[in-house]
C-alpha cells in the first residue's frame, strides 16, 4: 500500500514492474479508512471492521467493487 504523486506515475510504475492497475484512492478517502480502522485502537473498546461489513464500508467512501471485498473470489 503505497503513495503516488499522480495517476500517470502509478501507470508507469505498474508497467515497469508488471503490476496491474488498481482502483486509486485520494487522501480524503485514505483518511476515512484510517479513522474507521484505527481511531479507537488505543482504547479498551477498540473494534475493527469485520470482513462481512468491509465491502459496505469501502463503498461508503466511494471505493466500490470486488477489489475492496475481502470475501470476493474474483482474484483467485
Amino acid at each position: 500500500m503505497l503513495f503516488f504523486r499522480s495517476e500517470e506515475l502509478v501507470r508507469k510504475w505498474c508497467e515497469t514492474h508488471g503490476h496491474p492497475m488498481r482502483p486509486l484512492a485520494g487522501m480524503d478517502q485514505l483518511w476515512a479508512l484510517a479513522t474507521t480502522w484505527y481511531s479507537t485502537r488505543l482504547q479498551e473498546n477498540s473494534r475493527r471492521p469485520q470482513p462481512d461489513e468491509m465491502r459496505e464500508i469501502f463503498a461508503g467512501f466511494g471505493l466500490d467493487g470486488d477489489f475492496w471485498d475481502p470475501r470476493s473470489d474474483s482474484f483467485g
Partner: protein
C-alpha cells in the same frame, strides 16, 4: 481472555508512547505479569490477526498501524517518531493517536518526498494518491507484503 486484552492494549500504548516495539518484559511490567505469559498472549493475539510476530514468536513486527521495524513510512507527532506498515497505516498512526502530525514518505513512482501535514480532522487538500496492489480478499495471504 481478559489478560489478552490487557496485553494488546499495553502493546499499542507502548508503541503510542515511544514509537518503538515493546519487549515482552516491558509488557509484563505494564500488566503485572511475567514474560512467559506475555509471549503466550502474543501467540493468541497473532492467531486473531491483532499482532504480527517475527519468527522468534516474541518480537512484534506489526501492531497495526504501528510497525516494529523501520519502514519508508515515517510519522512524527508531538516529538515522537513512528514507523507505519504502509501508506494506509501512516495516516492510521495519527488517527489512533488522535493528534496532529506529519507523514513522511515518498512517491513510489518518482521518489519525490511526501511531507503531508495531518490535523486531527485529517490532511488538507492534496493531489497525492493511494495505491493498493493486493485485493482485499488476499491481504492476509502475506500481510507484510500487502
Amino acid at each position: 481472555m481478559e489478560s489478552d486484552l490487557q496485553v494488546k492494549l499495553a502493546v499499542y500504548r507502548h508503541f503510542a508512547e515511544t514509537g518503538q516495539a515493546p519487549a515482552p518484559e516491558d509488557i509484563a511490567e505494564r500488566v503485572g505479569s511475567d514474560e512467559r505469559s506475555v509471549v503466550d498472549a502474543y501467540g493468541r493475539l497473532s492467531a486473531l490477526r491483532m499482532l504480527v510476530l517475527e519468527e522468534d514468536g516474541s518480537s512484534i513486527r506489526m501492531a497495526s498501524p504501528f510497525s516494529g521495524v523501520p519502514t519508508q513510512h515515517v510519522v512524527e507527532s508531538d516529538g515522537v517518531r513512528y514507523f507505519a506498515n504502509c501508506a494506509w497505516d501512516a495516516l492510521g498512526v495519527l488517527a489512533a493517536l488522535r493528534r496532529p502530525g506529519t507523514v513522511h514518505s515518498r512517491c513510489e513512482g518518482s521518489g519525490e518526498p511526501l511531507n503531508l501535514e495531518v490535523g486531527v480532522d485529517g490532511p488538507g487538500p492534496s493531489e497525492w494518491l493511494f495505491y493498493c496492489l493486493v485485493p482485499a480478499a488476499r491481504w492476509w495471504d502475506d500481510i507484510v507484503f500487502t
